[in-house]
């Protein structure tokens, strides 16, 4: 897919994320907006997965460790045709399958996540299975920078390099903010590149909103034979809406009617410039 097509989709996805969060009066707004460009490129330019092959054992896998930004995932899955977008009208409603974290009850979701520090181990197990069976599918997992103090991440990071899982790609959505403050102040995990390199990963840092850079980076997978690949994506929480960008309160803030209108105006303007 061309960079221009991806750029249009990113704006559309952002509008839909806000639309359904606004309607549900709930959601993780800032993080969904920070990771949406990554999901856009993965699902539309990188991964071999869609509704047509979701039951195939050879499909690429996407496991979202930072499950709370599920609105971004739901919007992309709907666009890929896994389910009608109108289903998202029920987001977070009584008995809806479209809850605040990924669940397999929603077509296209690989694993039930939400508790942090789980996605990498699940991905490592899935990638080991591919190696055992000489299968070519790849495993992608999205982590948040705020979840990295969970020790299970580092257990899984060791196993990934021990088993030389070059069919595994982890992406960290590094937006630098978590629920109680800047990640650097809550629990500083930097330098992330040096840490993962020390754990045996091949690491690249990218601008997580630069679609071309994301495309080129994923096209280069695996970064090194015999090593798991880590993409440290530097992102902006609330990206795309001026008053949300880098503002902590939008971690799970819900826009008012006026704020929602303004966001739509800004995103429409951004689309017109593409």
């Amino acid at each position: 897919m061309s960079e221009q097509e991806l750029a249009r989709l990113s704006v559309e996805y952002r509008k839909k994320i806000l639309k359904y969060i606004y309607k549900a009066k709930a959601g993780h707004t800032g993080g969904s907006l920070s990771c949406i460009d990554i999901l856009n490129v993965l699902y539309n330019d990188v991964m071999n997965v869609g509704p047509e092959n979701f039951s195939s054992p050879d499909r690429d896998r996407y496991i979202q460790s930072k499950g709370h930004t599920v609105e971004a995932l739901f919007v992309v899955l709907a666009d890929k045709g896994f389910f009608p977008e109108s289903d998202l009208e029920t987001l977070c409603q009584y008995k809806s399958h479209y809850i605040g974290h990924p669940t397999r009850k929603v077509h296209g979701v690989e694993q039930n996540t939400g508790a942090l520090g789980h996605g990498l181990s699940l991905s490592v197990g899935t990638a080991i299975s591919a190696k055992l069976d000489d299968k070519d599918f790849r495993v992608f997992t999205l982590l948040g920078d705020g979840e990295l103090p969970e020790g299970s991440n580092w257990e899984a990071a060791l196993t990934a390099s021990h088993y030389k899982l070059d069919n595994l790609c982890a992406i960290i959505d590094c937006n630098g903010l978590q629920i109680s403050g800047p990640t650097a102040e809550v629990c500083n995990t930097e330098p992330l590149d040096a840490k993962f390199e020390a754990f045996g990963w091949s690491v690249r840092q990218v601008d997580g909103h630069n679609l071309k850079e994301l495309q080129d980076t994923f096209a280069a997978l695996p970064f090194e034979q015999g090593k798991p690949s880590m993409v440290i994506a530097r992102t902006i929480k609330g990206k795309g809406v001026s008053y949300m960008e880098n503002q902590l309160k939008w971690h799970h803030g819900v826009p008012s009617a006026e704020q929602y209108e303004q966001a739509v105006v800004e995103l429409d303007a951004a689309c017109a410039e593409i």
């Binding site: 054992p57 397999r104 690989e110 694993q111 039930n112 996540t113 939400g114 508790a115 520090g117 789980h118 990498l120 181990s121 699940l122 991905s123 490592v124 197990g125 899935t126 990638a127 080991i128 299975s129 591919a130 055992l132 020790g151 299970s152 257990e155 899984a156 060791l158 196993t159 021990h162």
Partner: protein
């Protein structure tokens, strides 16, 4: 009648577990063993040598062990995740709850050296909480086989189960328990001995002292005690419990677990809610700092022994 010879003839259930898995793995390359530096203590050394491509070593990292096992199971692998029960069901509890049970990845969690098998190693190495915590989690079958027969059957069933299972093994050699029953199903208790004066319901390695106690009661006092191996803690065999409670005679449950949240409370809950008023006693490890010693010494200390169970039975019978 059990004799010392027949007891000596049995193997540790863990050894039967390993041998059964090897027998299955020959014909099924999807069978995997995932371990946390526990191949030795899990008697899985020979499995690892024979089936290196069906063995995944994680190292001492139980959370990752369970998460990786869940990922493997999601691709269709028949995964046995093996780790000491004390670590598996405490440190990795969130992974069991979310990655296995909630995500419905059919991992077979194998808690080895369970209960107080590690005896004198102390509370860090005891698992007296596992029934309780796992019972409160939806979508996991909990099984504690008593003898070599139940162990082999449980492994074969677990291998083909498309749902999560927790298997709990001790370290002690176990005899083949007297029983005319040759069938084994999860959720169906096994009547090891019949008797109409009272019922002893035990699970795992406490079935043996319960059976010995029943024989002692019969020989010394002419009391006929039924003995049930309630190998499946969840789903509990309510039908069998109902059947044996119907005569109104006393019921004693025996388990190598905390008095809270295990077999005894599961039975009590059913009985109370179904208007049974049998005299009832839960024999288990009390809520205190567990005494130190070997498994046998700890069993004896808390009365989970031939003499202790027989004594409790006499008390409950009012004789």
């Amino acid at each position: 009648m059990l004799t010392e010879k027949s007891i000596a003839a049995g193997q540790a259930n863990l050894e039967v577990f390993s041998e059964t898995l090897q027998a299955l793995a020959v014909y099924d390359r999807d069978i995997l063993v995932v371990t946390s530096d526990s191949r030795g203590s899990g008697k899985l050394g020979p499995f690892g040598v024979k089936f290196p491509k069906q063995t995944v070593e994680i190292g001492i990292a139980e959370q990752n062990l369970v998460g990786v096992a869940a990922g493997l199971a999601s691709t269709g692998k028949k995964v046995f995740a093996v780790s000491p029960a004390c670590f598996l069901t405490a440190r990795a509890l969130e992974q069991i709850k979310n990655d296995v049970a909630y995500s419905d990845n059919p991992v077979k969690l194998v808690g080895i050296s369970a209960g107080v098998s590690y005896g004198a190693l102390g509370t860090t190495h005891h698992s007296l909480h596992d029934f309780a915590v796992l019972r409160a989690i939806n979508n996991i079958t909990i099984v504690a086989p008593a003898d070599n027969f139940e162990t082999e059957q449980a492994i074969r069933l677990a291998a083909e189960a498309d749902y999560p299972v927790y298997l709990r093994f001790g370290k002690k050699a176990m005899p083949l328990l007297n029983s005319e029953e040759t069938t084994f199903e999860f959720g169906k208790g096994r009547v090891v001995k019949n008797g109409g004066d009272l019922t002893l319901i035990a699970t795992g390695e406490t079935v043996l002292p319960a059976l010995k106690a029943a024989q002692k009661l019969e020989m010394e006092s002419g009391i006929q005690a039924a003995v049930i191996s309630m190998h499946t803690i969840k789903p509990l065999d309510y039908k069998l419990l109902h059947e044996f409670a119907a005569n109104g005679k006393p019921i004693i449950t025996v388990e190598e677990h905390s008095v809270y949240g295990g077999l005894g409370e599961a039975c009590a809950s059913y009985l109370m809610q179904n208007n049974f008023h049998n005299r009832f006693k839960i024999m288990a490890i009390p809520d205190e700092y567990t005494v130190t010693g070997s498994q046998e010494e700890i069993f004896n200390h808390y009365g989970l022994s031939e003499d202790g169970i027989a004594r409790e039975a006499m008390t409950l019978l009012g004789t």
